[in-house]
Amino acid sequence: MKLRIGIIGAGNMAAVHADGWEAAGDSAVAVLDADAQRAAELAATTGARVADDLDDLLRSVDAIDICTPTDTHLDYVVAGAASGVAVVCEKPLARTGEGARSAVAACREAGVPLLVGHVVRFFPEYVEAKARVVAGDIGDVAVVRLDRSTYLPAGASAWFKDPARSGGVVHDLMIHDVDYAAWVAGSVTRVYARLAGSIDGGDHVLATLKHEGGAISHIQASWAFPVGSFRTSIEIAGSEGLIMRHASDPFRSLVAVSPDVPDVPAPPTSGESPYASQIRHFSYVLRGKATSRIAPEDAAAAVDVCDAIATSIVSGRAIEIGEKL
């Protein structure tokens, strides 16, 4: 039986998710977006209908998939929980840690699954590195370095460029590696970070994290890199070894970069799109065939850590997680 998915928001990520549900054997049956034209376009490509409103969408689906601007996530999660449907939500789970924790509570009280799209947990190189850590190949994790450096998309929506709505580079980009660092090195207990802004608004952040158990992480997240570039890297040093994955793409070109760069840059991967892998996993979870790789509490913790990083940037102080911000 196909799961009936209601997609909320009809932007870039919504189209990627809709493809993922299709590939997983499920279907988007309803689409909702404040921009009716955009909703109609996504509906047309997926065979879904355009929902009249949120209640209409919630009545006709098994799960909602929230692909809206970050600051609207919480309201949709709460609405989904209240109507008893499963909730899939793009990262970050909410604009603030407090909001994220109330989203987790709402779903728990309603007894509905909450699956947050921390897609880095589905990128094959990150999955493999985590597997090597879990297998004990490098002993106890000591020092982690994660990097995600790219450009601020010229065509990015206004909400995305508004830190009040998206949280900026910390909550939108760095959160990927904040979540991954916690996944491989344990809960974060303290953060310190510095931010520099470039002329075109492309912010650059370096953060250092202290983890429960003593590991240290260094995370670089940047929208200040030259247009067209996208680089990620992983380095995990442990008491018995070292894992490194630097940007050595299987295919590297030496031609001039086209000025027509994508609005949403993504690292190339061979094989299945990690977004599709993630949706397939979510589909299994919703069918009771798998346990979620991303605990809702982890998604909320990632937002809490990002809040602390943002506070550290503003205050110039190291911030303990759990400290009143």
């Binding site: 106890d140 260094h218 670089q220 940047s222 570039s229 040093a237």
Partner: protein, 327 residues
């Protein structure tokens, strides 16, 4: 002819500096001095140059210039003897284990009017020099931030004292923070003002000092930088470690791998990287000897050593405070 002595051979670099000295015209190597008998025996196994049992004896043999390669905590005492004898000094980094000793080393050399250079070979690395040129020429616009790494295998492979809190003054932070601090100061002609640091002892928990370290430095021009100084290269890694810096500016980014001039070699089952390119240590020793000969002023001074050491020591204060501290 410049008569040169190597004072102390506890530091692994003593062997390399000897080889560097041998290539320079107009240098006469008087010998080495070492108070530890086992180190003297090792020296004589490897080299034909004499090794004296006391620093006084080597000074008495007549030297114009000295390279100091004792343990870090002994730098001050040796440099004081050298300055009193009017000998020019190249001192291994870090300059000392305390600010007080670093300052004393600077003062005594100034008072005795002898040269004092801190051994920061990276200034003589072509890729680091290219970074300075790129910044001078505003090639990536205004600098925003640096991310630097100076990671390595635990240096106890070379000598146990590198992980001795007294002799070395600390662990990975003392060992590996100063090079990158010096490069950044040199590149920007700006001073570090604030330091935040995290350290741990998960790698090689058997030693008494920190083996993992992550230091964030704020400069007086507003630029911030991170320095990963961890001894995080495992046994079996193809080389001792490395040094990288990424500079992010308003108009672009450059990335330096200072030891990229290497071959990947597999030999009888082991991987190793062998260097084929420029030799920064040779260039540094050439520069020191040139300054002793009066051919040019020193590009790297004792003050540079002091400033870099201050950052490493501030990092330890930050670890205790759990917060950023002023340098």
């Amino acid at each position: 002819m410049i008569r040169v002595g190597i004072f102390g051979v506890a530091h692994i670099h003593a062997d390399g500096y000897l080889a560097n000295l041998k290539t320079i015209d107009g240098v006469e190597i008087v010998g080495a001095s070492e108070t530890e008998a086992t180190l003297r025996t090792g020296w004589l196994d490897r080299h034909t140059e004499p090794v004296f049992a006391t620093h006084e004896a080597l000074i008495a043999a007549g030297v114009d210039a000295a390279i100091v390669c004792t343990t870090t905590n002994e730098h001050r005492e040796v440099v004081e003897q050298l300055a009193a004898a009017g000998v020019d000094v190249l001192c291994e980094k870090p300059l000392a284990t305390t600010v007080e000793d670093s300052q004393a080393i600077m003062n005594v050399c100034a008072a005795s009017d002898v040269l004092l250079m801190t051994a920061f070979p990276m200034r003589f690395n072509p890729s680091i020099a290219a970074g300075r040129a790129w910044i001078d020429e505003d090639r990536i616009g205004e600098i925003l931030a640096f991310a630097g790494t100076n990671q390595g295998r635990i240096p106890t492979h070379y000598a146990e004292w590198f992980a001795d809190p007294i002799a070395a003054g600390g662990g990975a932070v003392m060992d590996h923070v100063v090079h990158l601090v010096d490069i950044m100061r040199w590149w920007m002609e700006s001073e570090p003002v604030e330091v935040y640091a995290l350290t741990n002892r998960i790698l090689h928990p058997d030693v008494a000092v920190e083996t993992g370290g992550m230091v964030t430095v704020g400069f007086d021009n507003g630029v911030f930088a991170t320095i990963d100084c961890s001894w995080s290269r495992p046994d079996g890694y193809p080389t001792w470690g490395g040094l990288t810096i990424e500079a992010v500016g308003t108009d672009g980014v450059f990335t330096i791998d200072a030891f990229a001039e290497r071959l990947d070699v597999w030999s009888y089952g082991d991987a190793m990287w062998t260097d084929w390119g420029s030799d920064a240590n040779q260039a540094m020793i050439d520069h020191f000897i040139g300054a002793v000969k009066g051919e040019h002023p020193l590009e790297v001074t004792g003050a540079d050593g002091l400033r870099a050491t201050e950052v490493a020591l501030a990092a330890y204060r930050s670890v205790t405070a759990g917060q950023p501290v002023d340098v």
